[in-house]
Symmetry: C2
Subunit: 430 residues, 2 copies
């Protein structure tokens, strides 16, 4: 695990009401002995501590040597020297695996630990060294070709609708929510996010919408139900599409919402609006121009578009463990990188909003629900799975809290269209 890439937050001034339980006190250990003959282990532990930027964390080998901060917020305990050596060989990849396997455990709060590691790294995303970049380029498993995307999406989104329903709340929306006030509930905030998106798109009754990457279909249903539009929603996750179709049928909206199990690159026809919430992270930089081409083709010379995506302040790959174990093919772009979607097609950027603190809040709510359901998750999968996802959700909180990750909502329109909002006051007029 790299300091700067895998964490979660506790100290926001917008602390959630429904948060994980307060961090437990660290178990007391006997005072450190300087002469206990484990100096090699201590040196190894110190090396890891320094590598991570000397965060307020203690590192230990189970019933053995210790090193690191004198007043730690949390403690990392390795099962044995072999595990420690293995983690030292590639901390960014191997810590996540060691934690998942149970060969490394945490005493104290994982979120606080990972946040302190982020902050020790200065809050700036580390760039991979040239050597690591070469290694990664060679091993890079799944490109975002049509087939590659299908593989990548299957890996993450098809692991079971029941699993996701345990912790995403009633809306089954797996993207950043929008909290009108910091004390809104998760479900309130997910509905507010959908309304925020629909207002930004200025949806009018009778209009048509193309949605690229529709998850479990929540936004499409919301647009049809509340705004009276017809929606054609694309997704290559078989499980999600099946779930979405069943929801539309149950709600009697199947005639106004069509879910298509296909790639966004195959969207055709003309629509009044184009929307994509939480898909760009899986599109891959090389395909941004194609995505813009699709949006331009769909809108013609009029209408509005919105792309909602995790982003960055500075270009950087995803944390390697997250990219390998959680999001194969995933990437969080800077706004500059996103401009490649719009510039070639004379798409005019009308509005950008950065909601990163809202994503930290969303993730806190998800983690709270996930921990509450962890026994059921363990029964569905195994303990390793629980620890892997705990690590991923926890680390993501910190990535947003410390500014390593951003959340951009970008509204755009064809450059020649003047049918655009005069101000943004309508977004806030209730």
């Amino acid at each position: 695990m790299n300091a700067c890439e895998q964490s979660l937050a506790t100290s926001s001034k917008h602390a959630p009401k429904v948060a994980p339980a307060p961090a437990p006190a660290l178990p007391e250990l006997p005072p450190r002995s300087l002469g206990d003959g484990r100096s090699l282990d201590r040196r190894l532990l110190s090396r890891l501590y320094v590598f991570l930027g000397s965060p307020p964390v203690e590192f230990a080998i189970r019933e053995g040597a210790r090193a690191g901060a004198a007043e730690p917020v949390a403690r990392v305990v390795f099962a044995d020297r072999a595990t420690l050596l293995w983690v030292l060989a590639d901390p960014q990849m191997h810590f996540g695996d060691a934690y998942s396997d149970g060969r490394a455990s945490i005493e104290g709060d994982l979120v606080a630990l990972l946040e302190s590691v982020y902050r020790a790294g200065g809050g700036v995303a580390h760039r991979a060294s040239p050597v690591r970049r070469t290694v990664e380029a060679l091993r890079r498993p799944h490109r975002n070709t049509l087939a590659g995307s299908r593989h990548n999406i299957h890996h993450h989104y098809d692991i079971g609708n029941e699993f996701y329903s345990l912790w995403l709340g009633d809306t089954m929306a797996y993207t950043c929510a929008y909290y009108p006030t910091a004390d809104a509930t998760l479900d309130e905030a997910q509905v507010a996010k959908m309304d925020h998106v629909c207002r930004k798109l200025q949806l009018r009754s009778g209009e048509s919408v193309a949605e690229a990457g529709c998850g479990w279909g929540t936004l499409a249903l919301h647009m049809a139900r509340r705004y009276g539009v017809r929606v054609r929603a694309f997704n290559i996750s078989h499980e999600q599409i099946a779930y979405a179709r069943e929801r539309a049928r149950r709600e009697g909206l199947s005639d106004r919402v069509e879910y298509v199990e296909d790639d966004y690159r195959n969207i055709n026809g003309h629509y009044d609006a184009f929307v994509s919430v939480g898909m760009l992270e899986n599109v891959g930089l090389r395909n941004y121009t194609t995505l813009g081409d699709v949006a331009r083709r769909v809108l013609g010379g009029r209408g509005r578009g919105l792309i909602h995506s995790i982003g960055r302040n500075q270009p950087a790959r995803l944390q390697p463990w997250i990219e390998k174990r959680i999001f194969p093919g995933g990437y969080a772009p800077t706004l500059g990188q996103m401009s490649v979607i719009f510039e070639p097609w004379n798409l005019s950027i009308l509005d950008v909003e950065n909601l990163r603190l809202h994503y930290a809040q969303t993730l806190r709510h998800w983690l709270g629900l996930f921990e509450g359901a962890s026994e059921r998750v363990r029964a569905m999968f195994d303990d390793k799975f629980v620890r892997m996802w705990r690590s991923y959700l926890s680390g993501s909180i910190d990535a947003f809290t410390t500014g390593s990750l951003q959340l951009f909502q970008v509204v755009f329109a064809p450059g020649e269209s003047n049918d655009v909002p005069w101000t943004r006051a309508h977004l806030y007029s209730r």
Copy 2:
């Protein structure tokens, strides 16, 4: 003049209340004769017509040949064949000069004419050909070095405070206004713009602000007076600084607003906010990283920043005549190009708003005032100057109406700071 680069607007759905007078009817001319022996002139006029994308415009030589659209919105009349040949040699540069000199005149409405020419070009900014780019690179007169910037700024902003006071309204703000509703007056909209900027910056009483490029000092005074902050405002225009200091003295604000006649690159010290409204256009692409460095240094790890600038959807130089005669060293960047200001310094983009239709409205108001004061301007300068500025203001309306130019307000903060607005509702809460 290139179709796609020099115009102004009439057909916005947000038409102004205070606009230039309605376009006069075109003078009737005798029916075109096909056998009048002026076929060479007709062919030359047709060539210009086709070059400009066949807009609904008629082209004529005074008391001679005519060509172009059968039902024109306006007519361009050249004094003689020599003028027509000269314009054909380099329409982008020479039309503006011919119009300014009076060797080309317009029958009908200049704004409507230029808008139709823009639209005939598809509303997309033309890119200069490689040959023209080479020529321009060689002749490029004034780079934005410290000395070059001083020359460029002097050329445009130091031609007389009295001249600008004739048509900028009471605020003397020479940047895009913000119209809460489309029927706001110019002065109301300039004040609303300043409040919009101050709210985006979340200014609090007692804070300090660095302003880069302060014009005649209007925003600095407004911030001090209404928001209780201390301002240090930089500008290299000698005339503007003198005017601003006098205003501050008159208002009794000299102790809270300091106007510094110096380059933004020399701003030092720490401030709670960094603001730059309408300076980036004169900074030059090569200096964007330096501007970001200044903003980061000024803010340290906290505070908020705002940059307000004319922009583009796609990279393109300014229209050559505008760049040479009006704005030497000027450039309107895309958002992607602007990201170079922020990315190297881990500055997080929080909010982008595109106000291009507000700039078209602002320019309509300016043009209306300018035309009302044209006799006084003629007395101060000469008829050529009046025609030159009419052409510039008119063309600029159309550049914004047709989407050739954009207006971006970008709010940013140091990436590690969480002291950022939770939502944007506070901007609209009064």
